[in-house]
């Protein structure tokens, strides 16, 4: 008896991280399972018919946007990263950070800002008319496929740029130098060495861009472009066709998975990971004369279009807003945003730490499976995750009600999950745990396992080791993870639109409703708040990441 108890205690202690981690992963995967389950169960002809009508347009628009934006951001991102890693030119130090700023502006805010700038009453056309130049209607129309592609490219390219910049800057110096000693430089070096070795970084950056485009609802809704996500939301909210939305969401799952696996198939036997004995930073060369001016101009154009121009327009609009009635709504939305993204970020970091630490001590397939399953949500468009969450939460509520009634409790059928923040935060955690997991995992990789193993050899359990050794060493990595998540959660739109309780708006959804009702000036102020908070978050992350790199 006694020995059994000791044994079971020991078993529990050794699985103190593993079992909760499994529980978390199951809860995170449930919405996806529910989605598949419901799609198999319910099969509505009307929904499929409707999808059939939109099918062609939807497929063409979605794939078109993915390809155009993917290629454009890849080209811009890798060229800029190479210019800034390998050369110095006027303003290069500023551009290294400034080129990240477009990420602070969610594409849907950029979309309505650019429409405002280029429309008939916008600043461009009015100025041209005042100079006596008449613009034919339609020439400057942003609300087209190419307009949407422009907006996505200009606001999403930093994802590619930042990944390639870090990769080229820290791991490739020897390979590039050895190409130079073999007589290859300039453009040939870029095309034959830099682009191929960047491939992995390029794919992960473009992967994020593609997922963001697939995830977007604001831009395509405002510009009236039928895409995959807009169809899901229209079916669900507009028509109330649950099974149609589920069927479509399932297709989305398929697309996302196909994209993830396609790259692995293309890679074949080649390897892109570079093992360097010493990681040396590439010596930068100076670009003189017209080359330097050209490089500087290229960066300036992207910073202008991706940040300065839209922010200037938003400030101008906010300046013109005289109605104080909007202040209350704005204040509420700001509070809600901070609350939701704060809670969500903390929950994500806690879950990520649980899963990552459990996987760290449970090597082998189970550990890998845990992390993979948790990352699943990040590949899914927000609308798909939202539909999955609804598919699990609403039956759960019904079942709970039935159980209570069965036991004789006299309760009204309350929406105690779907009418509260629980469902929204749950959806956000499912969708964005990937962001937190990546940052937390990077932290674990950075500190390595030796310290923790030394601590366990000295008799501390995994939990004691975590609090006494890992957590203090990981402090900065955990902050980075939380901030990254908070910024992403604040900008999130489609999932929040579908899952937020009634009479509850965040900054993102407030902007969406304002723009939908053509209250551009009100939207401007909310947008500016969001941009300011994002910029602060991003700059903090940037500073902390640099400290972390220097601390090595």
């Amino acid at each position: 008896m006694g020995s059994w108890q000791v044994q079971s205690n020991r078993w529990l202690a050794s699985h103190a991280w593993f079992l909760p981690a499994c529980g978390i992963v199951i809860v995170l995967v449930l919405p996806h399972v529910a989605l598949v389950w419901r799609a198999v169960e319910a099969y509505s002809a009307s929904g499929l018919q409707l999808v059939g009508h939109m099918w062609q347009l939807m497929v063409i628009n979605t794939t078109g946007l993915l390809v155009v934006v993917g290629v454009a951001t890849a080209c811009i991102g890798v060229v800029l990263a190479w210019l800034l890693v390998a050369y110095t030119f006027p303003g290069a130090t500023v551009y290294r950070v400034a080129l990240l700023l477009p990420l602070a502006i969610p594409p849907y805010i950029g979309a309505y800002t650019y429409h405002g700038i280029t429309q008939y009453t916008g600043v461009v056309q009015t100025t041209l008319r005042s100079w006596g130049i008449a613009v034919a209607p339609g020439t400057l129309d942003m609300m087209t496929f190419s307009g949407a592609a422009f907006v996505f490219t200009v606001f999403l390219f930093p994802y590619v740029y930042s990944v390639c910049y870090v990769f080229l800057g820290t791991r490739c110096a020897h390979v590039i130098e050895s190409a130079r000693t073999l007589g290859v430089g300039g453009v040939a070096l870029f095309l034959r060495i830099v682009v191929p070795i960047c491939r992995l970084a390029l794919f992960s950056g473009v992967g994020v861009v593609v997922l963001e485009v697939l995830n977007d609802y604001g831009v395509v809704h405002y510009y009236g472009i039928v895409t995959f996500t807009s169809a899901v939301v229209t079916l669900w909210v507009g028509i109330g066709d649950v099974s149609g939305a589920i069927a479509l969401a399932l297709c989305g799952m398929g697309i996302a998975l196909a994209l993830v696996f396609a790259e692995q198939g293309l890679r074949g036997r080649r390897q892109y990971r570079i093992a360097a004995a010493k990681q040396r930073v590439l010596r930068r060369r100076a670009l003189h004369g017209w080359r330097g001016v050209l490089a500087s101009l290229a960066c300036a154009v992207l910073v202008l279009f991706g940040f300065v121009v839209p922010v200037a327009q938003l400030i101008a609009w906010a300046w013109q807003m005289h109605v104080p009635s909007a202040w209350d709504a704005l204040r509420d939305a700001l509070g809600h945003s901070l609350l939701v993204s704060g809670c969500g970020a903390v929950l994500i970091v806690v879950c990520s730490v649980m899963i990552a630490n459990a996987a760290r001590w449970h090597r082998g397939r189970v550990g890998v499976l845990l992390t993979r399953c948790a990352l699943f949500g990040y590949a899914m468009p927000g609308a798909v995750v939202a539909v999955g969450v609804l598919a699990i939460v609403i039956p759960l509520e019904d079942a709970m009600h039935d159980v209570l009634v069965f036991f004789g409790a006299d309760v009204a059928h309350g929406r105690w999950l779907s009418a509260t923040l629980v469902m929204l935060v749950y959806g956000l955690v499912v969708r964005y745990i990937g962001v937190g997991m990546q940052a937390v995992d990077a932290g674990f990789v950075r500190i390595g396992k030796t310290y923790a193993e030394a601590s366990r050899a000295l008799g501390l359990t995994v939990t004691q080791t975590f609090w006494r050794v890992d957590a203090p060493l990981m402090r900065r990595a955990l902050w980075i993870a939380a901030l990254l998540c908070a910024v992403d959660l604040m900008k999130e739109l489609p999932l929040s639109l579908l899952l937020q309780p009634y009479n509850f708006t965040t900054l993102a959804t407030e902007v969406f409703y304002d723009v939908r009702d053509e209250r551009i000036y009100d939207a401007a102020l909310a947008s500016l708040w969001m941009i300011v908070l994002s910029v602060i978050g991003m700059l903090l992350v940037h500073a902390m990441t640099r400290q972390e790199q220097k601390g090595e």
Binding site: H174, V175, E177, S178, A179, R180, T181, L182, G183, V184, G185, G186, A188, L189, R192, I193, P196, I197, R199, R269, R270, Q271, Y272, R273, I274, A275, A276, A277, K278, R283, R285
Partner: protein, 229 residues
């Protein structure tokens, strides 16, 4: 071609001390020289300066009678025509062994490239691995490919940075003998950097000691002379 280094000094940006301060030596055409010194004394930096990967802050470097670096001129690495074998080999991970070897032969015809590649593969005895990727080879094999790649464009000189640091100690002797054999067949001016003087036996005609970042004192390695007599 001979390599002439005159009073070369170099300091890394943000470093307070010179990595190389006032080094002078000459390597005659076809000679094989070993640079020996404690780690951190600027041996590798000296090689990077000769290869054109860094620009000296003072002094003159001449290759084959042409000045490649002084106060006014600086010929960058891609136009110096010097072979460099990196400490970690730096083989291009996305190219096969054959593609790696012909990488530097840009203006050559297809047939010539193939011929040169075959020649070098037989020199390094890796004929069977032409289509392998670098990560599929052992450390010693990777080093031989790096050597072949550096030799392929028939460089004016060959620089080897710590050729034995990444290899298994058990293979050490064997690989050193192979390397010495291949270098003697290649007949090219060679500078080899190492921290262990015993590594230079059979590899170098002459050993130069680099100490305290300063002066290279030429030491007649009587040992080697005796060994070859």
């Amino acid at each position: 071609m001979d390599i002439c280094v005159r009073d070369v000094r170099f300091r890394y940006a943000c470093a307070t001390q010179c990595a190389v301060s006032g080094v002078t030596f000459t390597v005659r055409a076809g000679e094989k020289v070993a640079l020996v010194g404690a780690s951190g004394c600027g041996k590798s930096t000296l090689l990077r300066l000769i290869a054109g990967l860094e620009r000296p802050s003072y002094g003159v470097i001449a290759i084959g009678g042409h000045i490649v670096a002084d106060a006014r001129t600086f010929v960058p690495a891609e136009r110096r025509g010097i072979g460099y074998v990196f400490q970690d080999y730096a083989l291009f991970p996305h190219m096969t062994v054959a593609q790696n070897i012909v990488f530097g032969l840009r203006s050559w015809g297809k047939h010539q490239k193939q011929q040169r590649c075959d020649e070098l593969l037989s020199l390094i005895s890796l004929e069977a691995y032409a289509r392998a990727y670098p990560h599929e080879l052992s450390g010693g094999q990777q080093q031989r490919v790096a050597l072949a790649r550096a030799l392929a464009p028939q460089p004016a000189a060959l620089l080897l940075d710590e050729p034995f640091s990444n290899l298994d100690a058990a293979l050490h002797e064997e690989i050193r003998a192979q390397l010495a054999h291949m270098l003697s067949r290649a007949r090219v001016t060679t500078i080899c950097v190492t921290h262990d003087e015993s590594d230079t036996i059979g590899l170098a005609d002459r050993v130069l000691h680099l100490s305290g970042c300063a002066i290279v004192e030429p030491v007649r390695a009587a040992l080697h002379a005796v060994g070859r007599a």
